[in-house]
Symmetry: C2
Subunit: 338 residues, 2 copies
């Protein structure tokens, strides 16, 4: 089969790779209905994160189970399944606590920008839909695999509650779906920080009540103005830079909640500053597995349509164009059809 | 009157100061029944925090109201009152949210190591007891003013719940009262980190079920061993150094809670490390005012006896010996009688 491999900064190739097979008795092999490019793929693509060797890319996936290992009992060939970027046994104490992305036996699922994928710990990782979904649902079900699950975690980790005021830092696909998540959780006011017209439009469609175009301390000042000088109850940091993190912390009211869901790059927090900011801080790799049953249900029942973040669809062999379009911010998120 | 003034590292003097008077219509003047030396007083005493000019010391207090300003309506002369180190109006949005130590009009209350104290924003800051308490209750009521309120906040901010496993980093008075607080909140297992026998003894009396004498990564390894390799549900950081903060973060299970209640000195947190630790982090200056009514009630009804942390009682004019004894760790906490 052919799949996407990153060789170095901006050097993504679509090339021959071994077709995955069952390697462990807990594995499943799935043929992908769709895959996509993640905002986090751009860190190594841009050279901000080193790529020590050619690396098969992609970690968002949904599709049909082809084969399962001898120890797999719940997942069956023929099922349509969705999983997360960390495989988890869903049985250890960390999984029981709802932190499957810190599973004691977690394995990163890589190489999903391809037609076929091996998923470890299949019974703990994959969630099957009741029926094989229609084509129309595929983009939203694919979104649930990571970007929607991560946006949902951003809202959950920032304690978004009915009636509260939320600010979202970052207008990438995760930020936009964090807006959607905050809306579903009953936030009364949702301030999206964005200076891109098409993203502002989608943010409003997803539930944003206010748009702030200023960044950094000017953005903080604007949020203070909008919240009567107090700050937002919950601020969802969906970027991962020092500037975005400080913007989030400073825009939160004392006693309020900051979540951060993208791997921070070069972020350092001064203890004393954090102390006097008086905020709650929580983040990490989104435990998407915790939310999969609920989010699949919301998608299948037409309650949410997170697939709208895919504003570019390409055949898989044009994966390099998907990276370019996202890198240049011509596209919010690129869906790839194997 | 004479009170304690810090001139520089280890130079604390008991000297003539102006007796405080009503300066604002919202002030109260109280004569102190007792005062004490705080662990946080040791930072400037040891020269770790600069003292730009001679500074009247002390911020823990309880006593009898002598006089009130014209705008004070709830607090009356003759009442026995307790307040916190930050005066607060208890009416702004931050106070309403329970974060009175981030009150929009907060003022630091300093100079309490003296016979008489001016307390700003008296109606919002002070809580009166039903009756003037007996002498026996004074140490515990004084403790409520800061060290007990701060230990309680440590447990509250780390989400201590019935049945959970708690670890406390730091065996100073705040750490010991954090143990007491965790016990009151129903923690099943409370691991106190201490290598001092007298403090271990008090920790056990307050409810500690396990003592860990190792520090740093060895202390973390011991907590992992005690928790089946998972980590504690809640870790209460009651020191404020880089080592203690990292010890707390590393000893917490993914999805668990870390609180920190002492002003961090030189602490820097790497975003990426915090991200993969997957913990909740919350701290700041303890909003003691939120807890005062409850804690006063617990003391007056004999449910808790936090005054036990005072293992040295001195007349106020020997305040310098109080600092020395705490600096040299000969005393946990020194109570001063004006």
């Amino acid at each position: 089969m052919r799949g996407a491999v990153l060789y170095g900064p901006r050097d993504i190739r679509f090339e021959e790779r071994d077709t995955p097979r069952i390697a462990q008795p807990t594995d499943a092999i799935i043929t992908l209905s769709a895959t996509c490019v993640c905002g986090s793929d751009l860190w190594p693509y841009r050279g901000i994160q080193a790529v020590p060797e050619p690396t098969p890319m992609g970690h968002e996936y949904c599709g049909i189970v082809e084969d399962v290992g001898g120890a797999v009992t719940k997942i069956k060939p023929g099922q349509f399944v969705i999983g997360s970027f960390f495989a988890s046994d869903n049985a250890c104490p960390n999984c029981d606590a709802g932190y499957q992305s810190s599973c004691q036996h977690r394995e990163f699922v890589g190489g999903a920008q391809a037609p076929v994928l091996r998923v470890p710990l299949a019974d703990g990782t994959l969630v099957a839909t009741a029926d094989v979904p229609t084509k129309e649902l595929i983009p939203s079900l694919l979104a649930v695999s990571d970007v929607m699950g991560t946006g949902w975690f951003a809202a959950d980790a920032a304690n978004v509650k009915s009636g509260c005021t939320v600010a979202v830092v970052g207008d990438g696909a995760v930020g936009l779906l964090a807006v959607l998540s905050a809306k579903r959780m009953g936030a009364e006011r949702i301030i999206a920080m964005s200076r891109h017209e098409s993203r502002q439009k989608l943010a409003r469609e997803f539930g944003a009540t206010d748009i702030v175009t200023e960044r950094g301390e000017a953005g903080v000042a604007r949020i203070m103005e909008l919240t009567g000088g107090v700050g937002a109850d919950s601020v969802l940091e969906c970027v991962g830079t020092q500037e975005s993190m400080m913007q989030a912390i400073h825009a939160t009211r004392p006693g309020g909640y900051v979540s951060y869901v993208g791997v921070p790059h070069g972020v350092e927090l001064k203890g004393e500053e954090l102390f006097f900011a008086h905020v709650h801080l929580h983040g990490g790799p989104a435990p998407v597995r915790r939310f999969l049953p609920k989010l699949i249900d919301l998608v299948c029942n037409g309650k949410i349509n997170p697939g709208k973040v895919f504003d570019l669809t390409l055949p898989l062999d044009q994966v390099a164009e998907g990276y370019r379009a996202m890198d240049e911010r011509r596209a919010i998120k690129a869906l790839l059809r194997p």
